[in-house]
């Protein structure tokens, strides 16, 4: 058994050495997709999820985080919101097992709500939490954080206030470091486009 394991480790090392020779361990700057977006944006009908920048000051973001954590409602059931304006099927990204749905209610007027239902949500990594973002069409590619949560079960149901009237294109759930940058971490737990 031990020699099998050693052989496998050696084979893995050789594979990695071959990989390093052919595909360098280099990563592109984080803003490359923004540059692609800038080039195609006049042609785009839906703006992608990567935020150009989330410009809220850190202090404000921390305050908002605490406030939003208090505001987030873990929905026990029932609707009470009428018919949805749009729906998005949520698909897992960093964890492909995550599934779910988001529904917009009253989104074209002030005071709208997005109801997010997620299934098979993993615990937030230690020192991290999840943050919910929305993207408006014609919003200049700017993601807007609308709430954060740390799941206590695999199924999460949230009612979150929308940041204003708008034509919402997509919803994203990011993995954020506690007390970290207010910008989107660029690690998405899951996301989906409204239609």
């Amino acid at each position: 058994m031990r020699s099998d394991s050693d052989n496998t480790d050696e084979a893995d090392r050789e594979t990695l050495a071959q990989l390093e020779r052919l595909l360098p361990r280099v990563t592109p700057p984080v803003d490359i997709f923004d540059r692609i977006l800038a080039e195609i944006q006049p042609e785009a009908t839906v703006i992608p999820l990567r935020p150009k920048a989330h410009r809220r000051p850190v202090v404000a973001a921390v305050a908002t985080l605490a406030a939003v954590a208090a505001v987030i409602a873990i929905v026990a059931g029932g609707n009470g919101l009428g018919s949805p304006d749009a729906r998005a099927t949520i698909a897992g990204k960093s964890d492909p097992a995550v599934t779910g749905e988001a529904r917009l209610y009253g989104s074209t007027a002030v005071g709208g709500t997005v109801r997010v239902t997620l299934r098979d949500v993993p615990p937030a990594p230690s020192g991290h939490h999840y943050e919910v973002w929305v993207l408006r069409r014609n919003g200049g590619g700017q993601m807007e954080a609308i709430g954060s949560f740390t799941p206590t079960s695999q199924t999460v149901k949230l009612d979150l206030p929308l940041p204003g009237a708008g034509d919402y294109a997509a919803l994203d759930i990011s993995v954020q470091q506690d007390g970290g940058s207010p910008e989107h971490s660029n690690t998405s737990l899951a996301n989906g486009a409204f239609s």
Partner: protein, 201 residues
């Protein structure tokens, strides 16, 4: 042997499934859905960048190459025919052609070469392109890994995260991370053997 056969079969199924998902995403891109383009960039952008870097030896040119590849995908998605080629093949053919063009432009323009790289680091474009076939096959093989394996390999290989850090980041057990990395390397090994790649330096 049976396990290996099962693994290979599962890998092929996963590759077919990934190709099918890619085709669906490209169809959405063709319809003007930039979210789909973003999804494809998240899946393949780092591998394309690394491949471009392998061919150009230059970070700035590699960035330009990646931008051009995904802008080309945006503009030509309507022409893509999944019955004729996989998206991964298309991506790396376009990336290779563009990287070679950019490398030639740099070679013809000494002022650009001086601006882009420190003295003494210039590489001969002919040398850089010599292993292009091999690099392209490995890049395609990596890109065609099952999604769950590609995610952990990207984080481990390109982002330099430890297995424990990956487990924490995406919320799966450490043993699962190790298993996925190992399966990914096994699959790359089997594909390397299939493509008869050189393993010597």
């Amino acid at each position: 042997m049976d396990d290996t056969a099962l693994d290979e079969g599962a890998g092929l199924d996963a590759a077919d499934e990934a190709a099918s998902l890619d085709a669906a995403a490209v169809a959405r891109v063709a319809g003007g859905d930039a979210v789909a383009l973003r999804e494809l960039y998240d899946r393949y952008g780092k591998v394309v960048y690394s491949f471009a870097y392998r061919l150009t030896g230059d970070a700035t040119l590699s960035e330009e190459c990646v931008q051009d590849v995904f802008v080309a995908l945006w503009r030509r998605a309507g022409d893509f025919d999944p019955s004729r080629a996989k998206l991964t093949t298309w991506l790396f053919v376009v990336a290779r052609n563009r990287a070679v063009d950019l490398g030639r432009q740099k070679a013809r323009r000494p002022e650009l070469r001086d601006e882009l790289e420190p003295a003494g680091s210039a590489a001969d474009p002919a040398d850089l392109a010599a292993g292009a076939d091999e690099a392209q096959r490995v890049a395609e093989a990596m890109a065609e890994l099952p999604e769950e394996q590609l995610v952990v390999l990207r984080l481990a290989y390109f982002d330099g995260l430890s297995h424990a850090e990956i487990a924490e980041l995406i919320g799966i057990p450490l043993g699962t991370v190790k298993g996925r990395v190992r399966l990914a390397l096994e699959r790359l090994r089997s594909l390397s053997s299939h493509y008869d790649l050189q393993t010597d330096q």
